[in-house]
Symmetry: none
């Protein structure tokens, strides 16, 4: 169950069309010297105009004070309780590189590390070796063979890689090998449940072979494995909401996440303009579109205030392309805030708006964190955004007689 | 348990008096051309004056984005979690016509439909035949006798009626007969649990006899039954809150609902003026009064913006009659919004205010959706309104040492 008890019976399929734009890392925090946030300093004439005709508010991604990763941040926007439903780190990392992960695979986030002659860890990240150096090492690891399972190693970036364990009856209930302490030994993998004992043996066999093939190196001569996880079974979003939902995202991780919750992932290009082209081309084929805008988050993560302002202005310029399609409901939201002054995801409530035929008489002066505070929707849990969205689209019946 | 864990021990009986006016369908939405809501366009001098001396806010009836029926909308106002406690459609329909429903009866919402020579449904509502035509048909159905249970049929309006099944050991765990598809056969009743098998037989026997007595007719020659339900066992409100609560409502359904949660229902007349007379007359007898105002909802449901403005103004004129009684706490709230531009119940947060001796120094400029957004109570779950109310009346002790 997602969204609401009995949502399958309350939601109705109608011809109305919903576009939900997720501006990753949308919200920010006022700069200590400027006294204004990125959204407040950016020139956003199109978003401001939309806000004047929209029901506005702010979403809390998980709980007040909790900064979410991209997984929980997105799951909540689609109505999945982020405390109940979880996509593990290994799986998310695999999805992020378009890895050929299958149901039943156990994925781990791996990284090269350096061990001394006693096997102790002077450097948990192997000097953050660049991709050029780690790529051939990943190929070496990928050639490892262990009994009763296939092991696949795929490079991510720099010192990071993904390990996939593939075989019958594998379990992700095994412990991580990174003790998170320099000078300690890497930990062996341990089964956390009886059904994981065979997977423990497989993972430790892989680690043993990895130590052997990397043995002659001075640095990056061992690996650490974290976040063992399988693709979780999540209730399909389309079934819950009686929708035919589609995802358009240039970044693999967001496509992967959408796939996991049962959205149709429409192939697209490498940037938001490509995504908009894809949306236009396929607009007749679905009643719900999730479209993802990444640059605001990337700039925020870099701690680059001006770049985030610019990323928001670039988004604003493209808003008319969404309006041209004339969706019945246009939602603009974010999965979490990424304040430039923090250079990371944050817990701050995220500005949002819903425009529909029901909201033309209301609105707020501009689309900013501060202005959205006085929007009619107030501050609410992101998990309820889909309910608001479906209701505005006339796709949700009354609860109870 | 309703309201709060251990509420029976926290709540204390005191002489202070509470009046809770529920203005049905109170809130609305800004008209797309006027840019203002019904409350904003209405002249409400008395409510505005009260709002200046009240703790104001907005209630969310169930969850953001969920439009409630009258049942969940009211239950929440009285502190009952509307996802946990539920009054079925058949029961609510029976209460709405003051039907003599008893504990243990199974009530269904019935309607006449038309079947063709193959038993298929060309018209699920029998051309919405008027009451004049359905009344004698209801009498025919009421005369049906089946083994081991009494069957009672009471007209509601037009093509709708209520069926009561009365007897020992009946269960409401039986399925509906309306497939909600034109051209299909009506469904037989099926037991949804082993204890409902006998009730299944009784309901199907009634349907069989109904088909026989209506057989010669061209239209309205069959019936559909939905929402089988019994009066639920709800914790009595008076016991939970240490109150002696009374309900004054001109419309039967609201009286019935109040009765189900253990309020004393005081007989009254046919409109709000009658209700106010009743309130004055019995003001000494109870410490909590629920009084219901219907016309705002009715006008909203009709999609008549001007009529809703008028209904609100008529309510406003009568506010001094409530003030004259000088209740220690006066609550003005709504069970849900009924925006005229939607002509239906909606999910929008509902304006509310609480006036007590503690709120004379605060307040907001006027009683509207927008102004209540900046009221001191903020936007909160309707389920917590009773806690606020009791606290303002000095009837709720501190929780924990």
């Amino acid at each position: 169950m997602i969204g609401f008890p009995g949502i399958e019976d309350l939601s109705v399929s109608t011809p109305s069309k919903i576009v939900m734009l997720v501006a990753d890392g949308l919200g920010g925090v006022a700069h200590p010297e400027k006294g204004r946030s990125e959204m407040e300093l950016a020139s956003l004439p199109n978003l401001d105009r939309l806000a004047k005709q929209s029901a506005c508010g702010r979403t809390i991604p998980v709980l007040p004070g909790i900064a979410p990763g991209s997984g929980p941040g997105h799951l909540a926007l689609f109505g999945y309780d982020p405390l109940k439903y979880f996509i593990g780190r290994g799986v998310l990392e695999a999805l992020g590189i378009d890895a050929p992960i299958r149901d039943g695979d156990v994925a781990a986030r791996g990284n090269f590390c350096t061990v001394d002659e006693h096997g102790l860890l002077p450097d948990r990240r192997a000097g953050r070796i660049p991709s050029a150096e780690s790529m051939p090492l990943c190929q070496l690891l990928d050639s490892i063979e262990v009994d009763t399972a296939e092991t696949i190693v795929l490079p991510v970036q720099d010192y990071r890689f993904v390990l996939l364990l593939r075989g019958e009856g594998l379990s992700d209930r095994i412990s991580e090998t990174d003790s998170e302490r320099t000078g300690a030994l890497p930990l062996p993998v341990s089964a956390l449940a009886p059904e994981a004992e065979r997977t423990e043996v497989i993972a430790n066999a892989f680690l043993q072979r990895a130590a052997e093939v990397l043995h002659d190196r001075d640095i990056a001569n061992m690996v650490l494995l974290r976040g063992f996880s399988k693709i979780p079974e999540l209730p399909p979003m389309g079934k819950a909401y009686n929708l035919n939902p589609a995802a358009i995202a240039a970044y693999p991780m967001y496509r992967g996440l959408a796939h996991v919750i049962g959205m149709k992932v429409i192939p697209t290009g490498h940037n938001f303009d490509d995504e908009l082209d894809t949306l236009s081309k396929h607009f007749d084929e679905h009643d719900f579109f999730y479209i993802h805008y990444k640059p605001a988050d990337a700039a925020g993560e870099d701690g680059d205030f001006e770049a985030k302002v610019h990323a928001l202005e670039e988004l604003d310029k493209r808003i008319p392309r969404l309006e041209e399609l004339n969706p019945d409901v246009l939602v603009i939201a974010g999965d979490h805030a990424t304040p430039s002054i923090m250079a990371s995801h944050s817990w701050h409530p995220v500005p949002m708006m819903i425009r529909s035929s029901l909201t033309r008489g209301e609105g707020i002066g501009e689309f900013t964190e501060r202005a959205c505070l006085s929007g009619s929707l107030g501050t609410f849990s992101a998990e309820h955004l889909m309910l608001q969205t479906l209701s505005h689209a006339g796709k949700l019946s009354k609860y109870g007689p």
